[in-house]
Protein backbone atom coordinates (compact mmCIF):
# COMPACT_ATOMS: atom_id res chain seq x y z
CA UNK A 1 0.00 0.00 0.00
CA UNK A 2 2.74 2.38 1.01
CA UNK A 3 4.53 1.80 -2.29
CA UNK A 4 1.38 2.78 -4.24
CA UNK A 5 1.32 6.08 -2.37
CA UNK A 6 4.93 6.64 -3.21
CA UNK A 7 4.17 6.01 -6.91
CA UNK A 8 1.35 8.51 -6.79
CA UNK A 9 3.48 11.11 -5.04
CA UNK A 10 6.30 10.58 -7.51
CA UNK A 11 3.83 10.89 -10.34
CA UNK A 12 2.33 14.08 -8.95
CA UNK A 13 5.75 15.55 -8.35
CA UNK A 14 6.84 14.73 -11.85
CA UNK A 15 3.65 16.20 -13.34
CA UNK A 16 4.17 19.42 -11.36
CA UNK A 17 7.79 19.61 -12.53
CA UNK A 18 6.71 19.08 -16.13
CA UNK A 19 3.98 21.72 -15.85
CA UNK A 20 6.55 24.13 -14.45
CA UNK A 21 9.00 23.51 -17.27
CA UNK A 22 6.24 23.83 -19.87
CA UNK A 23 5.07 27.11 -18.31
CA UNK A 24 8.59 28.56 -18.41
CA UNK A 25 9.15 27.43 -22.00
CA UNK A 26 5.77 28.77 -23.06
CA UNK A 27 6.07 32.12 -21.27
CA UNK A 28 9.61 32.85 -22.40
CA UNK A 29 9.08 31.68 -26.00
CA UNK A 30 9.19 34.59 -28.43
CA UNK A 31 5.75 35.67 -29.55
CA UNK A 32 5.01 33.87 -32.82
CA UNK A 33 5.91 36.16 -35.71
CA UNK A 34 2.94 38.31 -36.69
CA UNK A 35 1.18 36.95 -39.79
CA UNK A 36 1.31 38.92 -43.04
CA UNK A 37 -0.82 42.04 -43.37
CA UNK A 38 -3.95 40.67 -45.03
CA UNK A 39 -5.96 43.90 -45.09
CA UNK A 40 -7.93 44.30 -48.29
CA UNK A 41 -7.72 48.10 -48.26
CA UNK A 42 -4.65 50.28 -47.79
CA UNK A 43 -2.72 53.35 -48.89
CA UNK A 44 -0.30 52.87 -51.77
CA UNK A 45 3.43 52.94 -50.94
CA UNK A 46 3.89 56.70 -51.47
CA UNK A 47 0.45 57.60 -50.22
CA UNK A 48 -0.92 58.71 -53.61
CA UNK A 49 -3.95 56.44 -53.64
CA UNK A 50 -6.11 54.30 -51.43
CA UNK A 51 -6.45 50.87 -52.98
CA UNK A 52 -8.79 48.06 -52.10
CA UNK A 53 -8.72 44.57 -53.51
CA UNK A 54 -11.66 42.14 -53.33
CA UNK A 55 -12.59 38.89 -55.13
CA UNK A 56 -15.34 39.82 -57.59
CA UNK A 57 -17.58 36.95 -56.51
CA UNK A 58 -16.72 37.22 -52.82
CA UNK A 59 -15.00 33.84 -52.39
CA UNK A 60 -11.48 32.63 -53.18
CA UNK A 61 -11.37 29.23 -54.86
CA UNK A 62 -8.02 27.49 -55.00
CA UNK A 63 -6.95 26.37 -58.47
CA UNK A 64 -9.55 28.24 -60.52
CA UNK A 65 -9.16 31.30 -62.70
CA UNK A 66 -10.97 34.18 -61.10
CA UNK A 67 -11.37 37.92 -61.28
CA UNK A 68 -10.90 40.44 -58.49
CA UNK A 69 -11.75 44.14 -58.31
CA UNK A 70 -9.11 46.74 -57.56
CA UNK A 71 -10.73 49.96 -56.42
CA UNK A 72 -8.59 53.11 -56.55
CA UNK A 73 -9.49 56.32 -54.73
CA UNK A 74 -7.57 59.47 -54.04
CA UNK A 75 -6.77 60.20 -50.40
CA UNK A 76 -9.76 62.58 -50.46
CA UNK A 77 -11.98 59.73 -51.59
CA UNK A 78 -12.47 60.61 -55.26
CA UNK A 79 -12.39 57.71 -57.76
CA UNK A 80 -9.18 57.38 -59.79
CA UNK A 81 -10.03 57.08 -63.48
CA UNK A 82 -7.94 56.10 -66.48
CA UNK A 83 -5.26 54.35 -64.45
CA UNK A 84 -2.75 52.04 -66.13
CA UNK A 85 -2.28 49.00 -63.91
CA UNK A 86 0.22 46.18 -64.09
CA UNK A 87 0.14 43.10 -61.86
CA UNK A 88 2.99 40.94 -60.61
CA UNK A 89 3.56 38.74 -57.59
CA UNK A 90 4.14 35.23 -56.37
CA UNK A 91 4.72 33.23 -53.20
CA UNK A 92 7.71 34.67 -51.32
CA UNK A 93 7.96 31.60 -49.04
CA UNK A 94 8.17 29.28 -52.07
CA UNK A 95 10.29 31.59 -54.16
CA UNK A 96 8.09 31.43 -57.26
CA UNK A 97 6.02 33.89 -59.25
CA UNK A 98 2.37 33.78 -60.21
CA UNK A 99 1.17 30.76 -62.22
CA UNK A 100 -0.77 33.12 -64.50
CA UNK A 101 -0.34 36.66 -65.83
CA UNK A 102 -3.31 38.58 -64.45
CA UNK A 103 -4.31 41.78 -66.22
CA UNK A 104 -6.55 44.78 -65.62
CA UNK A 105 -9.14 44.09 -68.33
CA UNK A 106 -11.98 46.51 -67.67
CA UNK A 107 -12.89 49.79 -66.00
CA UNK A 108 -16.22 49.49 -64.23
CA UNK A 109 -16.60 53.10 -63.08
CA UNK A 110 -16.22 54.67 -59.60
CA UNK A 111 -12.52 53.81 -59.53
CA UNK A 112 -13.15 50.06 -59.92
CA UNK A 113 -10.91 48.01 -62.23
CA UNK A 114 -11.44 44.34 -63.03
CA UNK A 115 -8.28 42.24 -62.56
CA UNK A 116 -8.74 39.02 -64.54
CA UNK A 117 -6.72 35.83 -64.76
CA UNK A 118 -5.77 35.37 -61.11
CA UNK A 119 -5.16 31.81 -60.01
CA UNK A 120 -4.01 30.58 -56.60
CA UNK A 121 -2.70 27.07 -57.09
CA UNK A 122 -1.33 26.43 -53.58
CA UNK A 123 -2.11 27.05 -49.92
CA UNK A 124 0.03 29.69 -48.27
CA UNK A 125 0.80 33.38 -48.57
CA UNK A 126 0.43 34.97 -52.01
CA UNK A 127 1.71 38.44 -52.72
CA UNK A 128 0.13 40.63 -55.40
CA UNK A 129 1.89 43.81 -56.40
CA UNK A 130 0.13 46.49 -58.42
CA UNK A 131 1.97 49.25 -60.25
CA UNK A 132 -0.50 52.06 -60.78
CA UNK A 133 -0.08 55.03 -63.08
CA UNK A 134 -2.72 57.79 -63.20
CA UNK A 135 -3.01 61.57 -63.60
CA UNK A 136 -1.89 62.08 -59.99
CA UNK A 137 1.31 60.07 -60.56
CA UNK A 138 2.64 56.55 -60.23
CA UNK A 139 2.60 54.40 -57.13
CA UNK A 140 2.62 50.77 -56.04
CA UNK A 141 0.73 48.68 -53.55
CA UNK A 142 1.19 45.11 -52.32
CA UNK A 143 -1.63 42.90 -51.06
CA UNK A 144 -1.17 39.59 -49.29
CA UNK A 145 -3.72 36.88 -49.93
CA UNK A 146 -3.62 33.86 -47.64
CA UNK A 147 -5.11 30.58 -48.74
Amino acid sequence: MASLWRYLLAGLGLAALLAGILAIVYLTAPQSAPGPDISRSKKTANGLFVASFQPERGVIKQGELQSWLLTLKTVKGDPVEGAAISVSGGMPQHNHGLPTSPQATDYLGEGRYRIEGLKFTMSGVWQLRFAISAAAGSDTVVFNVVL
Binding site: A10, G63, L65, T100, G117, M122, G124
Partner: protein, 399 residues
Protein backbone atom coordinates in the same frame (compact mmCIF):
# COMPACT_ATOMS: atom_id res chain seq x y z
CA UNK B 1 15.13 5.92 -8.07
CA UNK B 2 14.30 2.48 -9.41
CA UNK B 3 10.58 3.26 -9.13
CA UNK B 4 11.02 6.59 -10.81
CA UNK B 5 12.64 4.81 -13.74
CA UNK B 6 9.80 2.31 -13.88
CA UNK B 7 7.32 5.18 -13.87
CA UNK B 8 9.12 6.90 -16.75
CA UNK B 9 9.21 3.61 -18.67
CA UNK B 10 5.46 3.23 -18.18
CA UNK B 11 4.86 6.77 -19.42
CA UNK B 12 7.01 6.08 -22.47
CA UNK B 13 5.04 2.92 -23.27
CA UNK B 14 1.75 4.83 -23.06
CA UNK B 15 3.18 7.50 -25.33
CA UNK B 16 4.17 4.96 -27.99
CA UNK B 17 0.80 3.19 -27.83
CA UNK B 18 -0.95 6.50 -28.61
CA UNK B 19 1.03 6.83 -31.85
CA UNK B 20 -0.91 4.06 -33.59
CA UNK B 21 -4.16 6.04 -33.54
CA UNK B 22 -4.93 8.80 -36.02
CA UNK B 23 -3.75 11.93 -34.32
CA UNK B 24 -4.20 14.87 -36.65
CA UNK B 25 -4.68 18.53 -35.87
CA UNK B 26 -7.75 20.32 -37.22
CA UNK B 27 -5.59 21.97 -39.89
CA UNK B 28 -4.20 18.57 -40.94
CA UNK B 29 -7.70 17.10 -41.05
CA UNK B 30 -8.78 19.93 -43.32
CA UNK B 31 -5.86 19.28 -45.68
CA UNK B 32 -6.58 15.54 -45.74
CA UNK B 33 -10.29 16.16 -46.48
CA UNK B 34 -9.27 18.38 -49.42
CA UNK B 35 -7.20 15.50 -50.88
CA UNK B 36 -10.00 12.93 -50.70
CA UNK B 37 -11.76 11.85 -53.88
CA UNK B 38 -15.16 12.94 -52.56
CA UNK B 39 -13.84 16.52 -52.72
CA UNK B 40 -13.56 16.20 -56.51
CA UNK B 41 -16.24 18.40 -58.11
CA UNK B 42 -18.38 17.18 -60.99
CA UNK B 43 -16.65 17.40 -64.36
CA UNK B 44 -17.38 20.78 -65.95
CA UNK B 45 -18.71 20.98 -69.51
CA UNK B 46 -16.10 21.83 -72.15
CA UNK B 47 -17.47 24.90 -73.91
CA UNK B 48 -14.79 24.66 -76.60
CA UNK B 49 -16.07 21.21 -77.69
CA UNK B 50 -19.83 21.08 -78.23
CA UNK B 51 -19.58 17.30 -78.75
CA UNK B 52 -17.80 16.73 -75.42
CA UNK B 53 -20.89 15.20 -73.78
CA UNK B 54 -22.57 13.72 -76.87
CA UNK B 55 -22.66 9.92 -76.36
CA UNK B 56 -22.35 9.12 -80.08
CA UNK B 57 -19.22 11.31 -80.26
CA UNK B 58 -17.73 9.49 -77.25
CA UNK B 59 -18.53 6.14 -78.88
CA UNK B 60 -16.81 7.14 -82.13
CA UNK B 61 -13.94 8.57 -80.08
CA UNK B 62 -13.57 5.24 -78.29
CA UNK B 63 -13.43 3.42 -81.64
CA UNK B 64 -10.76 5.82 -82.91
CA UNK B 65 -8.79 5.62 -79.64
CA UNK B 66 -8.28 1.87 -80.08
CA UNK B 67 -8.01 1.85 -83.90
CA UNK B 68 -4.52 1.08 -85.21
CA UNK B 69 -5.71 2.29 -88.62
CA UNK B 70 -5.23 5.75 -87.15
CA UNK B 71 -1.50 5.64 -87.86
CA UNK B 72 0.93 5.80 -90.74
CA UNK B 73 2.02 2.17 -90.47
CA UNK B 74 -1.29 0.72 -89.27
CA UNK B 75 0.27 -0.53 -86.06
CA UNK B 76 -0.21 2.31 -83.58
CA UNK B 77 -3.30 3.70 -81.86
CA UNK B 78 -3.75 6.01 -78.87
CA UNK B 79 -4.13 2.80 -76.86
CA UNK B 80 -0.67 1.57 -77.87
CA UNK B 81 0.81 3.94 -75.26
CA UNK B 82 -2.36 4.59 -73.24
CA UNK B 83 -3.15 0.97 -72.36
CA UNK B 84 -6.62 0.44 -70.94
CA UNK B 85 -5.51 -2.23 -68.44
CA UNK B 86 -2.46 -0.21 -67.31
CA UNK B 87 -4.09 3.06 -66.16
CA UNK B 88 -3.88 4.22 -69.78
CA UNK B 89 -0.07 4.38 -69.73
CA UNK B 90 2.62 1.98 -70.96
CA UNK B 91 5.15 1.36 -68.13
CA UNK B 92 8.01 2.57 -70.36
CA UNK B 93 10.51 5.35 -69.52
CA UNK B 94 9.80 6.91 -72.93
CA UNK B 95 6.77 6.07 -75.05
CA UNK B 96 7.24 4.03 -78.22
CA UNK B 97 4.88 4.66 -81.12
CA UNK B 98 6.11 4.46 -84.70
CA UNK B 99 9.43 5.58 -83.18
CA UNK B 100 10.83 6.19 -79.69
CA UNK B 101 9.65 9.49 -78.19
CA UNK B 102 11.47 11.57 -75.57
CA UNK B 103 8.71 11.59 -72.95
CA UNK B 104 6.94 9.26 -70.54
CA UNK B 105 3.30 8.40 -71.45
CA UNK B 106 0.90 10.01 -69.01
CA UNK B 107 -1.97 8.06 -67.41
CA UNK B 108 -5.44 9.37 -68.29
CA UNK B 109 -7.56 9.21 -65.10
CA UNK B 110 -9.17 12.63 -64.71
CA UNK B 111 -7.40 13.97 -67.81
CA UNK B 112 -10.43 16.05 -68.85
CA UNK B 113 -9.87 18.17 -65.73
CA UNK B 114 -6.46 19.44 -66.88
CA UNK B 115 -6.06 23.05 -67.97
CA UNK B 116 -2.89 22.08 -69.89
CA UNK B 117 -1.86 18.90 -71.70
CA UNK B 118 1.39 16.96 -72.09
CA UNK B 119 4.17 17.23 -69.50
CA UNK B 120 4.95 20.76 -70.70
CA UNK B 121 1.41 22.00 -71.42
CA UNK B 122 1.99 22.55 -75.13
CA UNK B 123 -1.72 22.08 -75.83
CA UNK B 124 -4.62 23.83 -74.10
CA UNK B 125 -7.56 21.47 -74.62
CA UNK B 126 -8.13 17.74 -74.53
CA UNK B 127 -9.26 17.73 -78.19
CA UNK B 128 -6.27 19.74 -79.38
CA UNK B 129 -4.04 17.35 -77.42
CA UNK B 130 -5.54 14.28 -79.10
CA UNK B 131 -4.58 15.64 -82.54
CA UNK B 132 -0.90 16.06 -81.75
CA UNK B 133 0.29 12.41 -81.56
CA UNK B 134 -1.68 11.65 -84.74
CA UNK B 135 0.80 13.75 -86.74
CA UNK B 136 3.93 13.29 -84.61
CA UNK B 137 6.36 11.19 -86.73
CA UNK B 138 7.43 9.30 -83.58
CA UNK B 139 3.89 8.53 -82.44
CA UNK B 140 1.10 7.82 -84.97
CA UNK B 141 3.03 9.49 -87.80
CA UNK B 142 -0.03 10.22 -89.93
CA UNK B 143 -1.12 13.37 -91.74
CA UNK B 144 -4.42 15.20 -91.55
CA UNK B 145 -5.44 14.75 -95.20
CA UNK B 146 -4.95 10.97 -94.87
CA UNK B 147 -6.97 10.97 -91.62
CA UNK B 148 -9.83 12.87 -93.30
CA UNK B 149 -9.92 10.33 -96.16
CA UNK B 150 -9.71 7.44 -93.67
CA UNK B 151 -12.64 8.77 -91.63
CA UNK B 152 -14.73 9.16 -94.78
CA UNK B 153 -13.93 5.63 -95.93
CA UNK B 154 -14.25 3.79 -92.61
CA UNK B 155 -16.59 5.86 -90.46
CA UNK B 156 -18.34 8.24 -92.90
CA UNK B 157 -21.91 7.52 -91.79
CA UNK B 158 -21.08 7.58 -88.07
CA UNK B 159 -19.15 10.80 -88.52
CA UNK B 160 -21.98 12.52 -90.38
CA UNK B 161 -24.62 11.52 -87.82
CA UNK B 162 -22.58 13.44 -85.21
CA UNK B 163 -20.84 16.28 -87.03
CA UNK B 164 -23.00 16.77 -90.13
CA UNK B 165 -22.06 16.27 -93.79
CA UNK B 166 -18.43 15.55 -94.64
CA UNK B 167 -16.86 18.00 -97.08
CA UNK B 168 -16.04 17.00 -100.66
CA UNK B 169 -12.58 15.46 -100.31
CA UNK B 170 -12.29 14.15 -103.87
CA UNK B 171 -9.72 16.80 -104.87
CA UNK B 172 -7.79 16.63 -101.57
CA UNK B 173 -4.42 14.84 -101.91
CA UNK B 174 -4.09 11.46 -100.22
CA UNK B 175 -1.31 12.77 -97.98
CA UNK B 176 -0.95 16.40 -96.96
CA UNK B 177 -0.24 18.35 -93.79
CA UNK B 178 1.51 21.59 -92.81
CA UNK B 179 3.49 19.47 -90.29
CA UNK B 180 4.32 16.47 -92.49
CA UNK B 181 7.39 15.49 -94.48
CA UNK B 182 8.51 17.60 -97.42
CA UNK B 183 6.11 16.00 -99.93
CA UNK B 184 3.16 16.31 -97.51
CA UNK B 185 3.96 19.95 -96.81
CA UNK B 186 4.21 20.69 -100.54
CA UNK B 187 0.88 18.94 -101.14
CA UNK B 188 -0.66 20.99 -98.34
CA UNK B 189 0.60 24.27 -99.78
CA UNK B 190 -0.91 23.37 -103.17
CA UNK B 191 -4.39 23.00 -101.63
CA UNK B 192 -6.96 25.81 -101.69
CA UNK B 193 -7.77 27.64 -98.48
CA UNK B 194 -11.23 26.06 -98.54
CA UNK B 195 -9.73 22.56 -98.82
CA UNK B 196 -7.35 23.27 -95.94
CA UNK B 197 -10.27 24.44 -93.83
CA UNK B 198 -12.33 21.37 -94.75
CA UNK B 199 -9.52 19.00 -93.77
CA UNK B 200 -8.71 20.93 -90.58
CA UNK B 201 -12.35 20.77 -89.56
CA UNK B 202 -12.59 16.98 -90.00
CA UNK B 203 -9.27 16.68 -88.17
CA UNK B 204 -10.49 18.88 -85.29
CA UNK B 205 -13.67 16.76 -85.04
CA UNK B 206 -11.54 13.60 -84.71
CA UNK B 207 -9.94 15.26 -81.67
CA UNK B 208 -13.32 16.29 -80.29
CA UNK B 209 -14.64 12.72 -80.56
CA UNK B 210 -11.56 11.24 -78.86
CA UNK B 211 -11.83 13.90 -76.14
CA UNK B 212 -15.50 13.03 -75.60
CA UNK B 213 -14.44 9.42 -74.96
CA UNK B 214 -11.56 10.40 -72.67
CA UNK B 215 -13.86 12.47 -70.47
CA UNK B 216 -15.23 9.19 -69.11
CA UNK B 217 -11.82 8.16 -67.71
CA UNK B 218 -11.92 9.23 -64.07
CA UNK B 219 -9.92 8.35 -60.94
CA UNK B 220 -11.25 5.53 -58.73
CA UNK B 221 -11.65 5.46 -54.94
CA UNK B 222 -8.60 4.21 -53.03
CA UNK B 223 -7.84 3.08 -49.50
CA UNK B 224 -6.65 6.61 -48.74
CA UNK B 225 -10.06 7.99 -49.72
CA UNK B 226 -11.86 5.55 -47.43
CA UNK B 227 -9.45 6.43 -44.63
CA UNK B 228 -10.07 10.15 -45.23
CA UNK B 229 -13.86 9.71 -45.14
CA UNK B 230 -13.60 7.81 -41.85
CA UNK B 231 -11.24 10.43 -40.42
CA UNK B 232 -13.63 13.24 -41.35
CA UNK B 233 -16.69 11.49 -39.93
CA UNK B 234 -14.91 10.06 -36.88
CA UNK B 235 -16.01 6.53 -37.88
CA UNK B 236 -13.83 3.58 -36.95
CA UNK B 237 -12.12 2.41 -40.17
CA UNK B 238 -12.90 -1.10 -41.42
CA UNK B 239 -10.02 -3.50 -40.84
CA UNK B 240 -8.43 -3.17 -44.29
CA UNK B 241 -8.91 0.57 -44.52
CA UNK B 242 -7.15 1.46 -41.24
CA UNK B 243 -3.73 3.01 -41.76
CA UNK B 244 -0.65 1.38 -40.25
CA UNK B 245 1.53 3.62 -38.03
CA UNK B 246 3.98 3.84 -40.95
CA UNK B 247 1.28 4.97 -43.43
CA UNK B 248 0.04 7.46 -40.85
CA UNK B 249 3.54 8.89 -40.49
CA UNK B 250 3.87 9.04 -44.27
CA UNK B 251 0.62 10.99 -44.57
CA UNK B 252 1.74 13.38 -41.82
CA UNK B 253 5.03 13.99 -43.61
CA UNK B 254 3.28 14.35 -46.98
CA UNK B 255 1.08 17.17 -45.71
CA UNK B 256 3.69 18.53 -43.31
CA UNK B 257 7.46 18.49 -43.08
CA UNK B 258 8.08 16.99 -46.54
CA UNK B 259 6.00 19.73 -48.25
CA UNK B 260 4.69 17.32 -50.91
CA UNK B 261 1.18 18.76 -50.62
CA UNK B 262 2.45 22.18 -51.68
CA UNK B 263 2.24 21.06 -55.32
CA UNK B 264 0.40 17.73 -55.00
CA UNK B 265 -2.78 19.30 -53.66
CA UNK B 266 -6.51 18.78 -54.12
CA UNK B 267 -8.29 15.49 -54.82
CA UNK B 268 -6.14 14.85 -57.92
CA UNK B 269 -2.93 15.52 -56.00
CA UNK B 270 -1.83 18.17 -58.48
CA UNK B 271 -1.84 21.95 -58.67
CA UNK B 272 -2.09 21.65 -62.50
CA UNK B 273 0.97 23.86 -62.73
CA UNK B 274 4.58 23.58 -63.91
CA UNK B 275 7.67 23.35 -61.72
CA UNK B 276 11.39 22.85 -62.04
CA UNK B 277 12.20 20.24 -59.41
CA UNK B 278 15.74 19.53 -60.52
CA UNK B 279 14.92 16.26 -62.30
CA UNK B 280 17.99 15.47 -64.41
CA UNK B 281 17.80 15.13 -68.22
CA UNK B 282 18.19 11.70 -69.81
CA UNK B 283 21.41 11.19 -71.70
CA UNK B 284 21.05 10.90 -75.50
CA UNK B 285 17.59 12.46 -75.63
CA UNK B 286 17.11 15.76 -77.51
CA UNK B 287 17.33 19.02 -75.55
CA UNK B 288 14.21 19.30 -73.39
CA UNK B 289 13.44 22.61 -71.68
CA UNK B 290 9.86 21.76 -70.65
CA UNK B 291 7.42 24.63 -70.23
CA UNK B 292 9.98 27.16 -71.47
CA UNK B 293 9.59 25.96 -75.08
CA UNK B 294 5.94 24.86 -74.83
CA UNK B 295 4.62 28.43 -74.52
CA UNK B 296 5.43 29.29 -78.14
CA UNK B 297 4.12 25.90 -79.30
CA UNK B 298 0.67 26.32 -77.74
CA UNK B 299 0.48 29.89 -79.04
CA UNK B 300 1.27 28.69 -82.58
CA UNK B 301 -1.20 25.79 -82.51
CA UNK B 302 -4.07 26.51 -84.96
CA UNK B 303 -6.28 24.24 -82.82
CA UNK B 304 -5.74 26.28 -79.64
CA UNK B 305 -8.57 28.07 -77.86
CA UNK B 306 -8.11 31.25 -79.89
CA UNK B 307 -8.24 29.30 -83.16
CA UNK B 308 -11.07 28.90 -85.68
CA UNK B 309 -12.04 25.38 -84.55
CA UNK B 310 -13.09 26.23 -80.99
CA UNK B 311 -16.83 26.00 -80.27
CA UNK B 312 -18.47 28.61 -78.03
CA UNK B 313 -16.96 32.00 -77.30
CA UNK B 314 -13.48 33.07 -76.24
CA UNK B 315 -14.64 33.34 -72.62
CA UNK B 316 -13.41 29.73 -72.23
CA UNK B 317 -9.86 30.74 -73.18
CA UNK B 318 -8.76 32.25 -69.86
CA UNK B 319 -5.83 29.86 -69.36
CA UNK B 320 -4.34 30.74 -72.74
CA UNK B 321 -5.18 34.43 -72.43
CA UNK B 322 -3.52 34.78 -69.03
CA UNK B 323 -0.71 32.29 -69.62
CA UNK B 324 2.75 33.14 -68.24
CA UNK B 325 4.84 33.61 -71.37
CA UNK B 326 8.27 34.51 -70.14
CA UNK B 327 9.51 33.89 -66.63
CA UNK B 328 12.78 32.30 -65.53
CA UNK B 329 10.88 29.59 -63.67
CA UNK B 330 9.50 28.13 -66.93
CA UNK B 331 12.96 26.69 -67.67
CA UNK B 332 12.78 22.89 -67.30
CA UNK B 333 9.44 23.20 -65.56
CA UNK B 334 7.13 20.20 -65.98
CA UNK B 335 3.57 19.54 -64.94
CA UNK B 336 2.87 18.25 -61.44
CA UNK B 337 1.53 14.73 -62.12
CA UNK B 338 -1.35 13.27 -60.15
CA UNK B 339 -0.17 10.73 -57.56
CA UNK B 340 -3.30 8.60 -57.70
CA UNK B 341 -2.25 5.14 -58.84
CA UNK B 342 1.38 6.25 -59.13
CA UNK B 343 2.75 3.45 -56.92
CA UNK B 344 1.81 0.81 -59.50
CA UNK B 345 3.12 2.60 -62.58
CA UNK B 346 6.87 3.13 -62.47
CA UNK B 347 9.04 4.57 -63.92
CA UNK B 348 8.59 8.19 -62.87
CA UNK B 349 9.10 11.75 -64.12
CA UNK B 350 8.75 13.23 -67.60
CA UNK B 351 11.26 10.90 -69.22
CA UNK B 352 11.07 7.96 -66.79
CA UNK B 353 14.20 9.09 -64.94
CA UNK B 354 13.43 7.21 -61.71
CA UNK B 355 12.54 3.55 -61.57
CA UNK B 356 10.97 3.43 -58.09
CA UNK B 357 9.09 5.58 -55.60
CA UNK B 358 12.09 5.17 -53.27
CA UNK B 359 14.23 6.94 -55.88
CA UNK B 360 11.62 9.68 -56.31
CA UNK B 361 11.43 10.36 -52.58
CA UNK B 362 15.24 10.25 -52.28
CA UNK B 363 15.44 12.85 -55.08
CA UNK B 364 13.06 15.23 -53.31
CA UNK B 365 14.81 14.67 -49.98
CA UNK B 366 18.24 15.47 -51.43
CA UNK B 367 16.95 18.19 -53.83
CA UNK B 368 19.90 18.42 -56.21
CA UNK B 369 20.32 21.61 -58.25
CA UNK B 370 18.75 21.76 -61.71
CA UNK B 371 20.99 21.47 -64.79
CA UNK B 372 19.28 24.58 -66.13
CA UNK B 373 16.93 27.00 -64.41
CA UNK B 374 16.40 26.84 -60.65
CA UNK B 375 14.89 23.94 -58.75
CA UNK B 376 12.02 25.00 -56.49
CA UNK B 377 12.73 22.09 -54.13
CA UNK B 378 14.79 22.50 -50.96
CA UNK B 379 16.72 19.69 -49.24
CA UNK B 380 14.73 17.91 -46.54
CA UNK B 381 17.21 15.49 -44.94
CA UNK B 382 14.52 12.86 -44.37
CA UNK B 383 15.60 9.82 -42.40
CA UNK B 384 15.41 6.31 -43.88
CA UNK B 385 12.32 5.70 -41.78
CA UNK B 386 10.64 8.89 -43.00
CA UNK B 387 11.36 8.16 -46.67
CA UNK B 388 9.97 4.64 -46.28
CA UNK B 389 6.87 6.07 -44.58
CA UNK B 390 6.23 8.44 -47.50
CA UNK B 391 6.44 5.51 -49.93
CA UNK B 392 4.07 3.49 -47.71
CA UNK B 393 1.58 6.36 -47.78
CA UNK B 394 1.82 6.75 -51.58
CA UNK B 395 0.91 3.08 -51.93
CA UNK B 396 -2.44 3.77 -50.23
CA UNK B 397 -3.30 5.83 -53.33
CA UNK B 398 -3.15 2.65 -55.41
CA UNK B 399 -4.90 0.11 -53.11
Amino acid sequence: MNRLLRFLALAAVLQVAACGKPDFSDAEKKTIAALALNALPALKPDATNRFADVPAAAALGSTLFFDQGMSHDGNVSCSTCHKIDRQFQDDLPQAIGVGRTNRRSMPLAGVARNPWFFWDGRRDSLWAQALTPLENPLEQAGNRAAFAHYIQKRFGARYERIFGPLPDLSAVPANASPLGNEAEQAAWKAMTAAQMDDVNRVFANIGKAIAAFERSIEPAQTRFDRFAIDLASGAKPKADDAFSPEEMLGLKLFIGKANCVTCHNGPRFTDNSFHNTGVPPVKDLPLDRGRFDAVAQVEADPFNCFGAFRDGDAGACGELRFMVKDAPELMRAYKTPSLRGAATRPPYMHAGQFSSLEEVVAHYSAAPAAVEGTSEVHPLQLSDRERAALVAFLKTLSD
